[in-house]
Amino acid sequence: MARHPHEAAERTGPPEVHLSDREVMQDLAEKYDAACPKFWLAVAVAGGLFALGVLAFVIRALDVGLSDSSRNEYGYYAAAFAFLIVTATTAPLAAIAFRWTKNHWRRPFSRAAELFSLVGILAVLAFIPMLIVLPGIDLNGDGVLELGKDRRTIWFSAPIGAPIWWDMAGLIGVVVCGLALLWVSARPDMAQIAQVSNGLRARVMGRLACGWQGTVRDWNVQKGQMAILGAFYFMLLVWVHTLISLDFALSLIPGWRDSIFAAHHVLTGIQASAGLLIVVLFLMKKVGGYDRYIGVDPFWSFAKVLLGVTLLWGYFWFSEFMTFWYGRDETEQTVIKLLMVESYRTAFLLNLFFSFFIPFVLLLWNGVRKSVLGPTVAGASVIIGAFFMMVRLYVPAFNIKDVGAESIAEFEAAHGGTAAQLLPVLPGPLDVLMVVGMMAGAAFIFLLGTRLIPIMSAWEMKEGLMYVLYRPFMKGKYLVLGKPE
């Protein structure tokens, strides 16, 4: 890539602005080559916990089986799976969205966001047991969908393969699309690594780069591919969030009719994945050795986005709660009691506290937003909040046995108090191991992925250098940002 003539005289800004193309490439290649012992320790710990999680799942499956009747034993498993969807699977969206809007501050984390596509492989595998325990639609098997006898689903009279194959197809689609996006985006870096490395790595990277030469045509094709794959990823992701949230939570709670729920699920995914990426950015800066490439700007800008999404999260929740609470409908009151104010009150309060109050109070202040630690704490908070949200939604949904009832209000009426199906369920040791294992598995795959593909996109960083200058203006020096068409 050509260098512009102003560089030596005018680049006086943050450290990364001083680097030349060659220095950037060399430095990033060195970081990619060298992995410190701490990294391998982290991989080993994550791998160990993942193995324990798998073991816990096997024990549970051997103990209680894997069917519709044992669905209540997999509530926390479902919550962990949903958590994986709202965090890791949604993360590539950040790279897509900020590339569309041409934000320069995206450059240090866009590859890390795309690398989370690899975690999608784990999500697909983890989805199989979920599909097995999902109850059928036509419960009495008479071929007619009747309220009170069969359950409400988004599939109505069940088109062929619904919901299992449609849900799986959606998830596989989003994962394949994400992996394709990762590959397309990483091709220039792979070609560069193939040139500067030798041995097996050079051969593998050379193959994966698929003849990338860096010609104008190559770049134009890559730009087009990224735009198309990004658009598909976005649509598929919204579709998958909608399917999973409605099939595995909402439709399992009889009478719960909540039109904002799927949109809220998508929004929680956007919020939690933003939090996840801020935390990853922090780790890259403080532990990963990428300090010179990651200034305060990405944290500051991402914090503004996180604040906006957090406010929207609160607004969506309020819309849901207010409509149900004000309406005084018996079923809706029971739904509120179950998911928010009685059975899962603790999880709900933690959810509200971590997803809304902490990030809102922190990010309200520009001083906090314009720091490294402030957005990171807020990011970690929304991740925790998202986890409790998944717990309070999926655990109760998986614990309702009579999914064919017309309304959960019937359970209360029949029981004369809170019905057993609506009582809170605390996690056992195996549940804890499965949840931790699922998260550790995601971390394990992500960490290994960074050994295959560099976590920082060298070509995007180099491109960014061309568009950023510091120029004198009146008494000060100002940042000049290029915005190409």
Binding site: R257, A263, M322, D329, Y467, L481, K483
Partner: protein, 458 residues
């Protein structure tokens, strides 16, 4: 994002103030034309007040018709001001500059127009006096503060007050420019309005802080207004198809959709009427077109969820409303028109860069959006009410009367007339914002290409 040539301050003053200092006949002709339509609407409203609501098409159980549809529509249009001005100002989007003032002014005028509708709809507007000053607390004759219908005016008036303040704060530097170029009584009036603006660093600092603070404070108000309007419907569980949790964000995003489309129409008309091709350029329409694609798609997702959950309930009366709406003529034709004009036609057009950069085609696409969004409100309100439900003993379908149609047309004329009158006394494009943009523009040389760039304060 910089296609126009560099403009000198002197030229900016001359170009943007000529609407105030020159008096072409067509301007007064146009104002008179809209004035006559407004007069017609006033006569229709007067006739209705005199004869009673019987002259409208409202009848049991459809007691909300064109007037309330129009109220929701104009509240929706008002969302453009904040969307473009506050959000884009906070996010430092450069292309906002020529659009902000028109958007803010449109907000104020559409809110004023919207608030006329419930008064007209009430049939006896003078009785609002009892609403403000309840006369008989002892017998419980007072507004029920727990009703969404009471929250509505509070929210709308808060929004109107803050929007007016927002417009005024942003107008101050421009008012001083007009003051310095005026003489006589006009100079005295603008001197009072400019509040002693001299353009010193302290004043600029205060103006910027006030702008940022108002931008941030007005955002929750903006969201709350249409949310509360949606509560008018979603809190009423008796009317099937209204009680839906997605209504607040669905209404807000729909409002942003129609509001931004309305701003595009205003900008294209301004460009054509006042010859502001140097200021409102194809790149601005392009940016607004892209924004509209995102907003429209978000709206469509919400629309699908809203419609779908009516069916998901499997409740007969909910399904009956959706069936009535989408499968029974003539409602089904209106429904198809609404979906087509709100989403498929405009978004299909905006996918092409050539369309986004063409003001004429953008006007067509944006008019389509607003036709669709008006119909959307109509189709939310009337089919739900027109169904026979528990405790309905008489029920009819609804057809608007001539009186209602004239009044609704009058509201459109009123907003157009007020915009034209505003342009006669204040600049519709903020001079200082354009000048600031000229200072911030830069270019970066990359190889043989020059890439547009902007100056940013760290």
């Amino acid at each position: 994002m910089q296609e126009g040539r560099a403009l000198a301050d002197r030229q900016i003053n001359r170009d943007l103030l000529h609407t105030i200092f020159t008096h072409p006949k067509w301007q007064w002709g146009l104002i008179a034309f809209f004035g006559i339509i407004v007069l017609g609407a006033m006569c229709a409203a007067g006739y209705m007040f005199n004869r009673g609501l019987g002259v409208s098409g409202l009848n049991r159980p459809v007691m909300w018709g064109f007037f309330i549809t129009n109220f929701v529509f104009w509240i929706g249009i008002s969302h453009a001001g904040v969307m473009l001005s506050a959000i884009l100002r906070l996010s430092k989007a450069e292309w906002r500059r020529p659009a902000t003032r028109a958007a803010e002014v449109l907000t104020v005028f559409s809110l004023m127009t919207a608030m006329l509708m419930p008064l007209i709809h009430a049939g006896r507007p003078w009785r609002v006096f009892y609403w403000v000053f309840p006369f008989d607390w002892a017998r419980g004759v007072y507004p029920n503060v727990r009703s969404a219908l009471i929250w509505d005016p509070s929210a709308v008036f808060t929004y109107l007050t803050s929007s007016t303040l927002f417009v005024y704060i942003a107008l101050l530097p421009d008012l001083a420019v007009i003051r310095d170029r005026s003489t006589g009584i006009r100079r005295q009036i603008y001197s009072v309005l400019a509040l002693g603006w001299r353009g010193n660093p302290r004043q600029w600092k205060l103006q910027i802080i006030a702008g940022v603070l108002l931008s941030a404070l007005i955002l929750p108000v903006f969201v709350s207004v249409h949310s509360i309007v949606s509560f008018d419907f979603s809190m009423a569980i008796a009317v099937k198809s209204w009680h839906s949790t997605i209504f607040p964000p669905y209404f807000v995003i729909g409002a942003v959709h129609s509001g931004v489309a309305a701003v595009v129409i205003v900008m294209a008309v301004m460009r054509w009427l006042y010859g502001w091709q140097e200021y409102i350029r194809p790149e601005h329409f392009d940016a607004l077109g892209r924004l509209l694609v995102v907003v429209a798609t978000g709206w469509f997702f919400f629309f699908v969820l809203e419609f779908f959950f009516g069916l998901y309930s499997l409740e007969a009366d909910e399904i009956a409303v959706k069936d009535f709406l989408s499968a029974q003529a003539p409602w089904s034709w209106w429904f198809i028109t609404f979906v087509g004009t709100t989403y498929f036609i405009p978004v299909g057009m905006w996918l092409f860069k050539g369309v986004r950069r063409n003001p004429g085609l953008m006007i067509i696409a944006c008019i389509s959006v607003n036709i669709g969004m008006w119909l959307e409100r109509f189709l939310i309100i009337v089919p739900g009410l027109a169904q026979k439900q528990v405790m309905n003993f008489t029920y009819f379908t609804y057809a608007p009367s001539v009186v209602e149609v004239v009044i609704v047309i009058g509201t459109f004329a009123l907003v157009c007339m007020l915009m034209l009158l505003f342009a006669k006394v204040f600049p519709l494009i903020p001079l200082y914002d354009i000048k600031e943009g000229e200072i911030a523009r830069d270019e970066i040389q990359i190889g043989r290409r020059k890439v547009p760039a902007v100056l940013r304060e760290e």
